[in-house]
């Protein structure tokens, strides 16, 4: 469990962080070991050196003390004072059962019992011990000839200071090495991962629809393999997607020739409708109705194949949103007896805050969006109740981000669970039992979503206050409300038709 969570943590960290951490840990371990060895070697060598010096001095002094004690009438304290000791060392002497010392702080009690026992037993000895928090070295020399024992206590405090400084320096060096190791790790992993960044960018571009993206192979033999495998994969993917899109496109184009003949011929028949008997007229109406539907389906399929191939292009115009919606709604209504469009029965309400805003939009695509939404309402929801044009956020001052085009219908609304699926191709869902005559193609709403997405907008379904469904199309305003001058570059691919159009878009 613990190991597993550690593994998870490591994976969460990312390769680069892991390599950096590994370098840091390695550098730390190495520098710590080296510092440790250095420290202990130096310490041992210092101590040995000091101990040897102190012992030599102690033996010299001991023999001096012994000689002095042989001659009678000696002042022991003066004798001890006169002994030439190393700086920081003090002498202690036991003679005739009495203890003498040069320092008040260092006396009989200062010498460890073990040392005392050894020396009093007749053996010279030396020992390190701690006295009042400082490290001391004691050297004891028995002087059997005069029945005395000579001790010299040497403070190692100065040496301890030196060792502390050494330890600090080594610690600092280890720290610096660790940081340097981490830095090297980060640099090296960054360098090693750099080609991956290129491949990541390429993958993102391909996922975004730029199927012709490839990576540079470079010179590195290891990377060459990866790059060529990646490029091969991208090429296969591209070929496959293009083949599928081309197939749909070819099919719809091939269907256009017979459809043209059919359409022209049915048109001729329509012109001679009066000469047909009622049964033939009914048959002609059926033929005409389904021919229209067939044509729409072919158009929709072609449109979809363009989206799938990523070749759908925006041809942007800058327009007044209210006028655009009114015109689009008008274009969806049937042509009356007088050859003019019949005014729709539902209102088109333009919120006051929309006045003066300019929307950059592909008019043809917008017309298709409205036509499909209106078709959807009349096929499945008893028709449109109203169309609203508003801005988001609402208001009349500057700062609108987008234009909302809302189509409300007479239907029962759309259950929450179906709302996203409704924009899928050929999705009929719970409405499948409600096929009206002159049914849609099953592609209408999915095309609405595609057209809206191409504009960088979104479409969603809400509940209308009247109880029906409310389709909300949100189209972004590109330059904060539009002052009448576009930036000259559209939100989508260019149609490449040259100067005039390029500037207008």
């Amino acid at each position: 469990m613990g190991a597993q969570s550690r593994t998870h943590l490591l994976h969460r960290l990312g390769l680069r962080a892991r390599v950096t951490a590994a370098f840091a840990v390695g550098a730390f371990a190495l520098s710590a070991v080296l510092a440790g060895i250095t420290y202990f070697t130096a310490r041992q060598s210092f101590l040995n050196e000091r101990q040897t010096a102190v012992q030599r001095q102690a033996f010299v002094n001991a023999s001096l003390v012994q000689d002095s004690l042989r001659s009678s009438g000696v002042q022991v304290n003066q004798l001890l004072e006169s002994v030439d000791t190393l700086p920081g060392s003090r002498s202690v002497l036991r003679w005739q059962g009495q203890w003498y010392a040069t320092s008040i702080s260092v006396g009989l009690n200062a010498i460890p019992a073990e040392e005392r026992a050894l020396v009093l037993g007749g053996k010279p000895a030396s020992q390190r011990f701690s006295l009042n928090g400082s490290i001391e070295l004691v050297v004891g020399v028995p002087l059997p000839a005069v029945h005395a024992d000579y001790f010299e206590v040497f403070s190692l405090q100065e040496l301890a200071g030196t060792l502390r400084a050494l330890a600090f320096a080594l610690g600092a060096a280890a720290l610096v090495t660790t940081v340097a190791g981490a830095a090297v790790g980060r640099w090296a992993s960054g360098r090693a991962l750099r080609p991956l960044v290129g491949i990541t960018d390429a993958a993102v571009a391909i996922a975004g629809g730029q199927l012709d993206t490839r990576v540079e192979a470079g010179q590195d033999a290891d990377l060459l393999k990866l790059a060529s495998a990646f490029n091969r994969m991208a090429a296969n993917l591209q070929a496959r997607i293009e083949r599928e899109a081309r197939f749909t496109s070819d099919v719809s184009h091939e269907l256009r020739s017979p459809l043209t003949t059919l359409s022209a011929s049915v048109g001729v028949l329509e012109g001679h409708r009066d000469e047909l008997d009622p049964r033939a007229q009914r048959a002609l109406s059926l033929l005409d109705g389904d021919l229209q539907r067939f044509k729409r389906m072919v158009d929709d399929l072609l449109e979809i194949s363009r989206f799938d191939a990523g070749s759908a292009e925006l041809s942007l115009d800058e327009v007044d949103p209210g006028e655009l919606v009114r015109q689009a709604v008008m274009a969806t209504s049937p042509i009356g007896e007088d050859g003019r469009r019949i005014e729709p029965v539902y209102p088109v309400e333009v919120a006051p805050g929309v006045d003066g805003l300019r929307l950059r939009v592909d008019k043809r695509r917008f017309e298709r969006i409205m036509a499909n939404l209106v078709d959807n309402a009349s096929l499945y929801a008893g028709g449109v109740t109203r169309v609203v044009v508003d801005r988001d956020p609402p208001g009349t001052a500057q700062g609108a981000n987008s234009i909302l085009v809302i189509v409300e219908d007479h239907g029962p609304g759309v259950p929450l669970a179906d709302r996203a699926d409704l924009f899928e191709r050929f999705y009929r869902g719970t409405r499948s039992g409600q096929r009206a005559s002159g049914d849609g193609t099953g592609l209408g709403l999915s095309l609405v979503a595609e057209h809206v997405n191409l504009h960088g907008g979104s479409v969603r379904i809400e509940d209308a206050a009247s109880g029906g469904a409310r389709f909300v199309v949100e189209l972004p305003l590109t330059d904060g409300g539009g002052s009448g001058s576009g930036d000259g570059s559209g939100g989508g691919g260019g149609s490449g038709s040259g100067d005039a159009q390029g500037v207008l878009r």
Binding site: P258, T261, G267, G271, E313, S315
Partner: protein, 225 residues
């Protein structure tokens, strides 16, 4: 009645178009290839030509260019693709308008009527319009540049007249589409763009850097003097 030449390689489409157009009251000649179309037109000029873009041998673009060399006859391209490339290439080859297969016979008839109407003299009220070294006689349908006649198609001529009559005023693409082509709000703005480009080549001293027919960003076009 007006004579229309249909250039279409698919026999069934050709026949159905002939039936539909004859019902609309036109006299229809039909040919199956671009080569035949050029030969037929030289012998017996029609008042309007419908050219399918996808023809075997000499394709629709070439056929249109070949006809343009000898005539300013109105041309409508019939295309199976509404893709930008084909439409723009067709217009640049000299077509006045285009329809997409499968078209409704009534719509095609409406486009033909609008184009034939355009071919008749325009009523601008002025007898001569001038800008720079360009001189337009609306009634005579003549454009001269530096005294020399410039051959314009009727659509180019109508477009130039619209701009010249409204000198200094910005005309949106919708306005130009409605006035010159008879389209509604959702007409294809590319028609205007390509025709403006063609006009610039004919009347501007430096078409790449126009002085007269100017693009007004986000709004449309205007003729400046």
């Amino acid at each position: 009645m007006s004579r229309i030449l249909v250039v279409e390689d698919d026999e069934r489409i050709r026949l159905s178009m002939r039936l539909a157009l004859e019902d609309e009251g036109y006299t229809v000649d039909d040919v199956a290839s671009g080569e035949d179309a050029v030969a037929h037109f030289a012998d017996d000029p029609s008042e309007l030509v419908l050219i399918d873009l996808m023809l075997p041998g000499m394709d629709g673009f070439e056929t249109c260019r070949a006809l343009r060399k000898q005539s300013t006859v109105p041309v409508i391209m019939v295309t199976a693709r509404s893709d930008t490339h084909d439409v723009v290439a067709g217009l640049e080859a000299g077509a006045d308008d285009y329809v997409t297969k499968p078209f409704v016979a009534k719509e095609l008839a409406a486009r033909i009527r609008a184009l034939l109407r355009r071919s008749r003299p325009t009523e601008t009220g002025a007898s001569v319009l001038t800008f720079g070294d360009v001189e337009i006689e609306p009634d005579a349908g003549v454009v001269r540049r530096g005294g020399e006649e410039v051959h314009c198609t009727r659509t180019e001529f109508r477009l130039l007249c619209e701009l010249a009559v409204n000198t200094g005023k910005v005309l949106s693409r919708e306005q130009l589409l409605e006035r010159v082509w008879g389209y509604d709000y959702f007409g294809d703005g590319r028609l205007v763009d390509v025709h403006v480009r063609r006009l610039r080549i004919k009347v501007e001293p430096d078409p790449g850097n126009p002085q007269f027919i100017l693009t007004v960003r986000g709004m449309g076009y205007k003729l400046a003097v």
